[in-house]
Point group: C5
Chain length 344, copies 5
C-alpha cells in the first residue's frame, strides 16, 4: 500500500509539518517503533548497571567513564551520515527507475481501440485478448519479483481462477519446453494477434499494426527491466556495510553515552538532570539516523511488503479492468461532435 500525503504538504506551513508528523501508516514511527523501544530499554538496563552500586564500584565507574570517553573519541571513525547519504541517493534512483517501469496498459489499449476496427465478436475478442495477454505477462513477472503477488497467485491455476488466463492458454504455456522463464510467451501471443487482425483486414495498414506492436514492446521492456533489477540487485556488500555500520554504532553508544562528561571530565556542579542530555540526544540520533536508514531499507525492495511499497495487485486488477474498458466498452463511443462554448 502506498502512502499518500500530498494534501498535507500543499503549503509549507507549520501545520503541514504537524500533520505530516502525525501520520502512522508508512511513517517513521511505525518503522522505528520496535527498534526504538528495544534501544530505549537497553539504554535503561545499561544505565541501571552503570549507576547502581550493586554492580559497579566507584573506581570501576571511573574506568567505565574513561572507556566511554575513548569510545566517544573514536566513534567518529564510523562515517555514518556520509555512507547513508550516498547510499540513500543510489537507492532512491533505483526506486525511481522501478517506479517508472511498473507498466500501464493505457497507451497500448488506446491504440488497440483505435486501430483494430470492428464490432463483431471475433474482433472484440482479439482486442480484449491483446490486452489480457499483456496483463498476464505482468502477472507472471510480478509473481517472481513481488511477494504480495506471489502470495495472491501461488500457482498458474490461481491465475486462471482470477481470469487473467484461460485454461487452454495455461496448457499452451505449459507445453513450451524451455528451462528459462517464459515471460515472453503471452507477449508473443499478443503480437501474434496483431498479425492475425492485420491479415483479416481489421487493421487498415502495416504502419498501424506496427504502431501497436511498438507499444507492446515498450510495455515488455518495462517489465524486463523490473525482472532484470530483481536478477541483479545492488551488490549485497553495499547494504551490508551500511546497515551494519548503523547498528554497531548504536550498540557502542549504549556504553559510551552513560557517562556525563564535559571535555572528558564530570561537570563541577553535580546534578542528576545531566544524565538526561546524553540520553535524549542518543534517542534523537537514533531516530534520525536509524530513521534515515529505514527509508533506505524500505526503498531497497519497493515491490516488497512495507507500507510504502508499490501496490502491485491493485495495478494488475486496474490494468485489466481499464484495459478492457478502453478496448471494448468504450470502443468507438465518441460523443456527438458539437460546437464548443468558444466557437465563433
Amino acid at each position: 500500500m502506498t502512502v499518500s500525503y500530498n494534501l498535507d504538504v500543499s503549503s509549507a506551513s507549520i501545520f503541514s509539518f504537524l500533520r505530516l508528523q502525525l501520520r502512522w501508516n508508512g511513517s517513521i514511527w511505525k518503522y522505528l517503533l520496535k527498534e526504538l523501544i528495544f534501544f530505549v530499554s537497553a539504554f535503561f538496563v545499561v544505565s541501571f548497571i552503570y549507576r547502581s552500586e550493586l554492580f559497579i564500584a566507584p573506581e570501576t565507574r571511573k574506568i567505565w567513564d574513561n572507556f566511554a570517553a575513548l569510545f566517544d573519541q573514536t566513534m567518529e571513525f564510523i562515517p555514518l551520515t556520509f555512507m547513508l547519504g550516498f547510499f540513500v541517493t543510489i537507492i532512491v534512483r533505483r526506486w525511481n527507475d522501478i517506479f517508472a517501469n511498473l507498466g500501464w496498459v493505457d497507451n497500448t489499449a488506446l491504440t488497440v481501440a483505435n486501430y483494430i476496427r470492428g464490432t463483431d465478436e471475433r474482433t472484440r475478442m482479439i482486442r480484449r485478448n491483446v490486452i489480457r495477454y499483456m496483463v498476464l505477462t505482468q502477472v507472471l513477472v510480478f509473481r517472481d519479483i513481488s511477494l504480495q503477488v506471489r502470495r495472491r497467485f501461488p500457482t498458474l491455476e490461481s491465475i486462471v481462477a482470477a481470469g487473467f488466463m484461460l485454461e487452454h492458454e495455461k496448457e499452451a504455456f505449459y507445453n513450451v519446453p524451455l528451462k528459462y522463464s517464459k515471460y515472453f510467451l503471452p507477449i508473443q501471443w499478443s503480437s501474434g494477434l496483431l498479425f492475425e487482425a492485420r491479415s483479416e483486414g481489421k487493421i487498415a495498414a502495416d504502419l498501424l499494426m506496427n504502431e501497436i506492436g511498438k507499444h507492446i514492446i515498450e510495455f515488455r521492456k518495462g517489465l524486463a527491466l523490473l525482472s532484470n533489477y530483481d536478477w541483479v540487485p545492488i551488490p549485497l556488500a553495499y547494504p551490508q556495510v551500511v546497515f551494519l555500520a548503523v547498528r554497531s554504532y548504536f550498540v557502542m553508544a549504549l556504553i559510551a553515552r552513560q557517562s556525563v562528561l564535559l571535555d572528558g571530565k564530570p561537570p563541577e556542579q553535580a546534578s542528576l538532570l545531566y544524565h538526561f542530555v546524553p540520553f535524549l540526544m542518543s534517542i534523537l540520533q537514533f531516530i534520525f539516523v536509524v530513521g534515515w536508514m529505514k527509508v533506505a531499507e524500505s526503498m531497497i525492495n519497493p515491490l516488497g511488503e512495507d507500507d510504502d511499497d508499490f501496490e502491485c495487485n491493485f495495478l494488475l486488477d486496474r490494468n485489466l479492468a481499464v484495459g478492457l474498458a478502453i478496448v471494448d466498452d468504450c470502443y468507438n463511443q465518441i460523443p456527438a461532435i458539437e460546437k464548443d462554448m468558444f466557437w465563433c
Copy 2:
C-alpha cells in the same frame, strides 16, 4: 503563482544580490516570517527565565550552563545539513520531472492544424474537439492532484460551466461504469476523432493520423506521470525524519544557546554584549537551515498552494486558448510567400 526573478540575476553583481534579497513573494522571508518570529520570541522568553534572578538562583544557572555545554557537545549528533543536502537534491529532481511533464498542447495542436485539412464546420469542430478533449483530460487529472484546480472545479458541472466540457460529454463520462479513474476517456475520444477524420478523408494518410496520435499519447504520458507521482510520493518516512530533525534541533538550541561559554567556561571579562553572539548566530542558523528546509517543503508538492507552485489554472486556460487559436483561428493562415532580405 510562480515567482520569476531572472532579470534580477542577469549579471552576477552585488546589486543583483540585493535585488534578489528584497523580493517578497516566494521569498525566504515570507516562508520564514511566522516561524522566525516564534523562534525569536521563544528565545527571549527562555533568555528572560535564564537571566532573571526571580526564576533561577546563580547555582541553578551554573547547572543550566553545564546543561547547555552538554547539549552543545552533543547537538552535532544530529546530521542536519547532510540530511537536508541529500533530501533537497532528491526533491529537486522530482520537482524537475513534474515540471517537465505538466503538459502543453502546442505540439499536438500544430500537427492537428497541419494534418486535418478542411474549413467546413464539421472539420473545424473535429479539430477543436481533439484539442479540447486533451485539455479536458488535463483538467480531470489536475483536479485530483492540485488543490488550486480542485477548488476551481469542485464538480464536473463546474467544468462544463467553464466550457472545457459539454453537457452531453459529461453524460457520456458518467455513463462509463468503472471503479477506477477515467482519465483515459477524453483522450480516447480525441484519438477516436482522428480515426473519424481519417475515414472521411480529412487526413490524407495513415502516417499523418498516426503522427497526431503519437503526440496525443505523448501528452497523456506526461499527465499519467503526474498522476503516478501523486499516487506514490517519496516515502513518507523520509520527509518526516528530515523535518523532525530540523525542528527538534532548534528546540534544543533554545536551551543550549543561553549560556555564554568559551571552551566550556564563561569568558573572563564580563560583558552583557556577549549574549548577543549566541543569539545572533542562532537566528542566522535558523534562517539558513530552516530556510533550506522550507525550500524542500515548498518543492515537495509543486502543485500545491505556495507562492512558488506551478500555476495550474493558468496553464489550463492557456492550453485551451492557444490550442484553439492554433487549430482554428490560425488554420492555414500562412503569410504570402515572398523573397526575404538576404535573397540573391
Copy 3:
C-alpha cells in the same frame, strides 16, 4: 560572450594551471574584483579600529577578543560549503539543460534541403522561409528571456529591420488576437509551408514531409523548454538562502578575524606578523567561497549578460546564415562522384 579555455587545459601540467589562472574574461578575478576590494578595505578599516588606541581601550580589546572567539566558535553553525556544493550542482544541471536546448537549425535545414526539391524561385522561397520562420521563433523567444537579445530587438520593427521578419508577416503576427504569447505562430507558418510544398509535389511523399515536421517540432520543444525555465525558475528562496548565508558569514568574519588567538588565548611570543595569518586566510576563504558562489550566480541565468553567458545574438545570426546557406546556396551541390583513395 562565452569564454573558451580548452586549449589551456589540453594537458594536466603546472603550466596549464598558470595559463588558466591568468585569464581575465569570465575569470574569477573579474567576478570577484569589486567585492574583494571592498572586503579587504573593510577588513583594514575594522583592523584599524581594533588596534588603534584611539578607539579602543585595552580592556575593550579583551572583550572584542572574547567576542571574536565566540563568533569563531559559532560560525560553523552556517553550513556554507554544504549549501554551496548542493546548490551549485543543481544550478549546473539546469545550466546544462538550457545549453542543450538553445536551438540549432542545422538538422531541419539539412532535411529541408534534401526533401523539398526544386530550383524555381517559389521552391527556393519556401525552403528559405521554413528556416527563417524557425529562426524568427527563436528571436521572439529569446527576446523574452535574454536581456542581450531584448536590447538588440526592442520592438518587432527592429526584427523586421534586421531581416528576420518581413513587413507583411509582422502585420499577420499583430493580427492574431490572443492574450498569451504567440511564439507558436511562425512555427505554424513553417509547418504550413511544408504542407504547401507537399501539395505542390515539391515533397515526394507524406513520410518525408512528416520527417521535416518532426525536426521543426523538435526545435520548438527546445525553445519551449527555455521559455518554461524562464517562467518557472528554481524557487526564489533557494538562491536567497544560499547567497545570504555566504554574505552574512563574511560580514561576521570582519569582526571575528581581528584577534589573534591560539586556542582562545593570544600566543605567548608577541609578534605583529601573527596578524597576517587570519587576514590572509580570510582573504583566501573569501576568494574560494565567494568565488564558488559567483560561479553559481553567473550560471543561474545563463542567458544574462555575464562573460560566461551564452551568446544568443551570435546564435540567431549564425542560425539564419547557416540555415539559408544549407537550404539555398548549397542545395544539391554534391561534388562529382569519384573513386576515393582506398578504392580497390
Copy 4:
C-alpha cells in the same frame, strides 16, 4: 554469478537485517575476509611490539605515544570518506549503464517471429540465423571484455563447437581482412538476411523489415557501448588515488592506534581493558571503510569474476535458447481465440 537478496529485504524489519548480514556469497565478509585477517594479525604483532618490554623501553613507548598522537591529529588530512563517497557514486552510475546495455534478444526475436512469415525450412533457417548472428556478436564482444566468457571461448573454434557459429561462417569471418575488431560482421549478416527475406516476400513491407532492422541496431548499440566502456575506463588515476588513500590510511592506523590516549594523555585509572577500544574501533572502521571500497572495487569491472559480477555466460546461453524458441518453436502458436471471464 549475481547474488540476489530481494526476498531477504521484502520488509524493513530487524530480521531482514540479520538475514542480510548472514549471507556469504557476494557478502562483505567474503570480500573482506583475507584482508581483515591480515589487518588483525598485523595489529596484534604491532601491539605485541608496542607493549612488550623486550622490544621497547618505557621512554621509547612515550615517544611512540607522541608519535601516535601526532598521527591521530593529522590522519584527517586524508579525505577518505569524501573520496569514497563521490567515487562510489560515479562507479555505480557506470555499473548501471553497463547493466542496462548487456543485450537481450527478446524484442528482436518477437518482431522477427511476427514479421518474417513462413513455415518452410528456408524461412525457419532465416529466422533462426538472424537471432543466432545477434547472439554470436554478443559472444564476440563479451570474449573481449569478460574474463568468464574468454575462458569459455578461448578460440573461434570453441564458439563453433558450442553451436553459436557454423564452420563456414567462421571461414567467412576469417576471410574479411581488417585490422580492427570485426564485431559488426555477424550483425551485418543478420541485417542482410532481413533484406533477403524481404526480397523473397517473406516480409510483407519495407516498413516491417525496417522495424526489425531498428531492433538489431538497438541491440548492436548496447554491445558497442559495452565495448567502448571497456576501451575507455574511468581514468586510471582516479581508482589509484582512492584505493591508495584507503590502504595507506590503515597502514598508519597500525601505529597510531596502539596508544590509549584521552585528549593526548593516558587515562588516570589504568586498565588493560582500555586497549580494547582503539582495537575494536579500528577493526570496525576497517570493515566499513574497506568494505565500502570493496563495493567500488567489485563494481568497477562488472564483467569480471567477483560474486556480484554479471553472469555473461548464462546470458549468452539464455539469449540463444529463448531467441530460437521465440522465432521457431513458438512461431505462430497463438492459443485459440476465446471469450475471457469478464466478457459480457
Copy 5:
C-alpha cells in the same frame, strides 16, 4: 591514448590493488611526479631554514611555531575536499557526455550497406562516399576541438593527402562563402547522395532512404554536441577557484607543517623522529588531494593530450576503414543459409 586496466580489476583482491598501483601510463604517479618532486624539495628547503640555527634563532622558531599553529587552525577555512568532490562529479558527467558522442559510423554503414543496393561502380562509389563524407565531417570537427587531430591535419591539404577528402571536394568546400564553420557541408553531401541513390532506384523506398538519413543526422548531432561543448566549456571561474584553492593550500602547508606540535605545544619527550609525521602526512595529503585534482584536470578536456584522453586519430582511421569495409567489402556477403546445431 586511453589506458585500459579492466583485466587488472577483474576481481576485488589485494593483488588487483597492487597491479593497479604499478601501472605507469595514465597513472597518478605520472601525473603527479613533477609536482610531487617539487613539493618535496620545497618542503626540505623550508625545513632546512626552519631547523638550521644559521637562519633562525630559537625565539624566532617559537614565533614560527605560533605562526604554524595559527595556519593549522585556519587552514580548514579552505573547503578543499568539498569543492573537489562536487567539481569532479560535474567534470565526470561532462566527460561521459563527450565520450558517448564521439561518433561511430557503424550504424549508418550497416544501414547503407543494406538499403543502397547494387554492385556497379557508381553504386559502390555512392556507398563509399556517404561514409567517407561522414568521417570527413568528423575530421573537420575534431581538428577544431582536439590538439592531436589538429597536429595531424594542420590544413585541408593534409586531409586530402590522408585520403579523407578528394581534391575537387576540397575546392567545393572552399567555394562556399560563409563566415561560420562549414561542418555541415560534407554531411549535406552525404544526405544528397541518398537522394541521388533514391532517384536512381538504388534505394527501394522513401522510408529506407529516410532511415539512413536519420542515422546520418544522429551522427551529426553527436559531433555538434562535441563542438558545442568546446564552444561553451564549464564557466572558467569554476576550475580557477578549485585549482587555485588546492595549490594555495599546499603553499601554506609548506610553512605550517614544519613545527611538531601536540595540541599547540611541542611534545614532552624530544625526538627527531617526530618531524617525520607532519612530513609524511603532508606528502600523503598532497598525493591524494592533488591526485584527485589531477583526475579533474585530465578529464576537463578529454580531447587533449593526456595519457587518458580519447584517441581521436585512431577513431578517425578506424571509422573510415570499418565504414568502407562494411559498405563495400562485406556488401551482401551473407554466409550460405544452413541449419544450425540446435535445429530439430
